[in-house]
């Protein structure tokens, strides 16, 4: 039986974009209503997925499969195949939630070219969902690249003063990664053909043959994929596009960029790099490089955050630090680290998404993000200050909120793998508390020094509404994370098993036949 819930979910925003195309340009409120209805609809459609997925959370393999192997372009073996496991399920839920929230948050922020804005935003939403759903590498790549275009336009048209520069930088940087990845994909595709005689882009099929690639090729392929994903994450030396893109993007664009787009990189590591090149990732040399760059990212991102004068830039650099935790968990290569990493990706989406909304709200009122311009805001905007405090605490990893669970699990995983890694990563948590609390102190405490801040309006009901689901999620993950661990258990264990089965044979390309046959059974 095929259920079409994934296709429906995938196409809802696209249909919304098409409907918007026919809406009258002048009637901005109608356009906003249509866009919000479709975004909320997308989120509501994704809700029934939760009980459906929950019922089969321990079953192996991908669920809600759609499409057959070659139903799209039979000549090259590409198909419209969708399917999710626990990892992509959580990321999809995050995407539908943040997509709705960002569209809701743009209501008053976007005043020019409103129609196009929402059209591109909904297209972007489809692209992001497609990346997490695709079980066909060709389809995946199409979504992966096509999604860059709306993001480029969102930054370039509705962005800040240096928008042209930021938009081109974002596009070029990420495309650089993805073209190298394309070569890697083509190699895997061709390798599958030489092994089995079949041309296919099916990811479950490629799982079986990719670990057979000889080590000296696999390492190059790993690098090609690594650059693609590391730019997206962004990991330490590849992060320079991120502050520019974040600072120039409109608020909702930053929310999506931090909340979802960055997760595509980490998702790529989990979904592709680890199971495709188990021998490479578990090679001690490679692993220590990966961990090393992650640790540098954690510390560097946090230190740079401390020094920022611009709130949005501060939050952007804090993303580098937080994503460093995610990659640290991934390359710890044990179930704890991986679970913590995926959970932390969700957490980062929730809390950093909220941080960008918070900065956006002040920016909308005062049109500046300079920290020095503010002070004593908590007396003017009490509700706003409370919500900000909750989200700051969540972001810095205070127990009982979501950030703690993710970071703690990652550190636990890193500690199990090598205690030194955990020791080096721990200062990141402390520094996060430092730069966030210091920011809070400078902006919210004290007396109102700047007369322009005296008459700031507190949050409107619509703005509060954008935070409510995020706070609920932060509390839920913080207080009762067990369901999330259960959802992640099966896919994470399977990935770790693949790595363990292949890691004994580092230098020679021999793979235990048991591993591929078990993979076959599970798919």
């Amino acid at each position: 039986m095929q259920s079409h819930i994934l296709s429906i979910l995938l196409l809802t925003p696209l249909v919304g974009a098409l409907v918007l195309l026919f809406a009258p340009k002048e009637n901005k409120d109608a356009i906003r209503w249509i866009a919000n209805i479709f975004a909320l609809g997308g989120f509501l459609i994704s809700l029934p997925l939760v009980p459906m997925f929950w019922a089969q959370r321990f079953e192996p393999g991908f669920k809600f499969l759609e499409g057959t192997q070659n139903n799209w372009i039979p000549s090259i073996g590409a198909g419209y195949n969708l399917g999710i496991d626990g990892i992509s399920f959580l990321l999809i839920m995050l995407t539908t939630l943040l997509g709705w929230i960002s569209i809701l948050s743009s209501w008053t922020a976007i005043e020019i070219r409103v129609k196009e804005y929402y059209v591109w935003f909904l297209v972007l939403q489809t692209g992001m969902l497609g990346v997490f759903m695709a079980l066909d590498f060709f389809l995946f790549f199409v979504f992966w690249e096509a999604m860059l275009v709306p993001m480029y336009l969102l930054i370039g048209i509705w962005g800040g003063p240096r928008k042209l520069y930021a938009a081109i930088k974002f596009f070029l940087y990420t495309l650089f990664g993805s073209v190298l990845m394309l070569l890697g994909i083509l190699f895997l595709y061709f390798h599958h053909h030489t092994v089995t005689g079949v041309f296919t882009f099916g990811i479950p099929e490629l799982y079986k043959t990719a670990p057979l690639i000889p080590f000296h090729y696999a390492i190059r392929l790993f690098v090609a994929f690594f650059i693609g994903f590391a730019i997206k994450v962004p990991m330490f030396p590849f992060h320079t596009w991120l502050p520019d893109a974040h600072v120039e993007a409109p608020t909702a664009g930053s929310v999506i960029l931090a909340g979802v787009l960055l997760k595509m990189g980490t998702y790529g590591f989990v979904r592709f790099s680890l199971p495709f090149f188990p021998a490479v990732v578990s090679h001690p040399r490679v692993q220590s490089w990966m961990i090393g760059t992650s640790l540098v990212g954690i510390i560097y991102g946090a230190l740079v955050s401390l020094m920022q004068k611009d709130m949005k830039r501060l939050v952007a650099y804090s993303s580098v630090s937080h994503l460093g935790f995610c990659t640290l968990g991934i390359f710890a290569l044990n179930p704890l680290g991986l679970t913590g990493s995926v959970l932390q990706q969700i957490n980062h989406g929730i809390s950093t998404g909220a941080l960008f909304l918070i900065v956006g709200i002040l920016y909308e009122r005062r049109h500046t993000r300079e920290i020095a311009e503010y002070g004593g805001i908590s007396t003017v905007m009490p509700v706003y200050a409370t919500i900000t405090m909750i989200m700051f605490l969540s972001s810095m990893g205070l127990p009982a909120l979501n950030g703690f669970v993710g970071e703690f699990t990652i550190l636990q995983g890193a500690f199990t793998a090598n205690w030194r890694w955990a020791v080096w990563a721990a200062p990141g948590v402390v520094l996060a508390a430092a730069y966030l609390l210091w920011l809070y102190q400078r902006v919210f405490f004290g007396t109102v020094t700047n007369p322009k801040n005296e008459k700031l309006r507190d949050l409107t009901p619509r703005e509060i509404l954008t935070f409510v689901p995020l706070i609920i999620m932060a509390l839920w993950i913080g207080l009762y994370p067990k369901p999330f661990f259960q959802i992640l258990e099966q896919p994470v264990n399977q990935i770790v098993q693949t790595i363990r089965n292949n890691s004994n044979s580092n230098a020679n390309a021999q793979v235990a036949p048991a591993s591929s046959s078990r993979l076959k059974a599970s798919n």
Partner: protein, 493 residues
Amino acid sequence: MLPMVELTIFALGILLIDLMVPREWKWINAAGAFVGVLMSAFCVWRIQSMLPPQGFIFGFHRSLLVDGFAIYFWYLFLAGTAIAILGSVHYLDVEDEHHGEYYALLLLSVVGMMCLAAGFDIVLLFIGLELMAISTYVLVGFLRRDRRSNEAALKYMLLGAFSSGIFAYGLSLFYGLSGGTNLRDIARAVSAPQNLHNPVVVIALLTTMTGLLFKIAAVPFHQWAPDAYEGAPTSITGFMSVAVKAAAWSLLLRILLAGLWPLRSIYVPVIVVVAIATMTGANFAALTQTNTKRLLAYSSIAHVGYMLLAFVAMGTSQPDSPGLSDGFKGILIYLLVYTFMNLGAFAVITSLRQRNVIGDEIDDMAGLYRRAPVEAVLMLLFLLSLAGIPPAAGFLGKYYIFLSLIESGHYGLASLGVLYSLFGLYYYLKIANAMLMRAPMETERLPVSLGMRCAVGVTALATIVIGVYPEPFIRGVNWSLGIVQSPRAAALR
């Protein structure tokens, strides 16, 4: 021969009718040319249905070979010409140069192209080449009162004539070696063991290749292209960059694959060097251009570089490896998608030409979105397609080219190719930025003629359809190469 005869009759007919119609009725010429192209396409279709499955027809003492390859290119030329005609009507009115000769020359150059795609005899090939080239020289200089156009035509003609001379010299040496003008005779002669290391063969090969590389505008024989593209009437620039280029490619493929395939160990290294030089030179030069026509001229040279990479993959593949057929398919599909996306981009640029605006600088693109939103968005589509971003069609071409390189083990060349495609993205985005993100210099809406709307619409539709559902087009290419079901066996005749 039928489609060519039919086109020639229409070309001559237009010349006659042009004398009789008054100025206001000049569009009749365009309509006539358009009908001629459609009828010619119908003839091609008739011939296609007469073709035995996976077979071919020789005609005129084996000087003409009609096979899937020829028919594929014929369709391509006709499609490109039809769109170019649609985009020309209003433009020529604006330029005040509406003459029947324009369409007659356009059709005659298509006759030459068709001879190139189907010719199997070096005499016929050379006649086709000259027929195409001379018609194009005149078309480039068609704006008699524009100095840029005159200069471009003169430059193009002098260099073109020179390269044709070198090309003819090479062909004459092959004739001397083989004693025949048929490509099959030449193939037989050059595959003889004593000829493989014959210096005369090498000289003949290199001179022939010089002519071929000049025609496809590969570095270092590309110097004419930016000037000719910039100076030519914009509607002709689009036509030259797709149809004339596709014809030159069909000539190159016919001669190097059918005639000189035994010499591939000699010419493939040359092509590697030329491909790298082409990508490097064109991409670096394009970075600094401020004139859109010139920019797209360099970009079209860069695209030649990518296609040459696919040719390298073909030339170095084992006969039964998929790299061979995928490289071949890559070139054909690239030419197909390139025809639509590039013509679309040029159509938009053409529509910027107004009574008192030349409109070919990037600054003229500024704020195009305010002035003509549909055209601006479609231009974005063409630019992204040229940059190879899925799901636009350009990605499919890139996909096949890089796949064939991976399959034949050219990882270094493949990496170089993808890196240069980033350069491409940068200069395409320069145009996109101007269109969508800068404030317009003029605010009034851009009037776009009906014919231009059709041209832009058709090319945009093709760009999207080929990108999203390429299956029928891949099948078409497979059919034209005689690979119907099995992608493995590419039969080179």
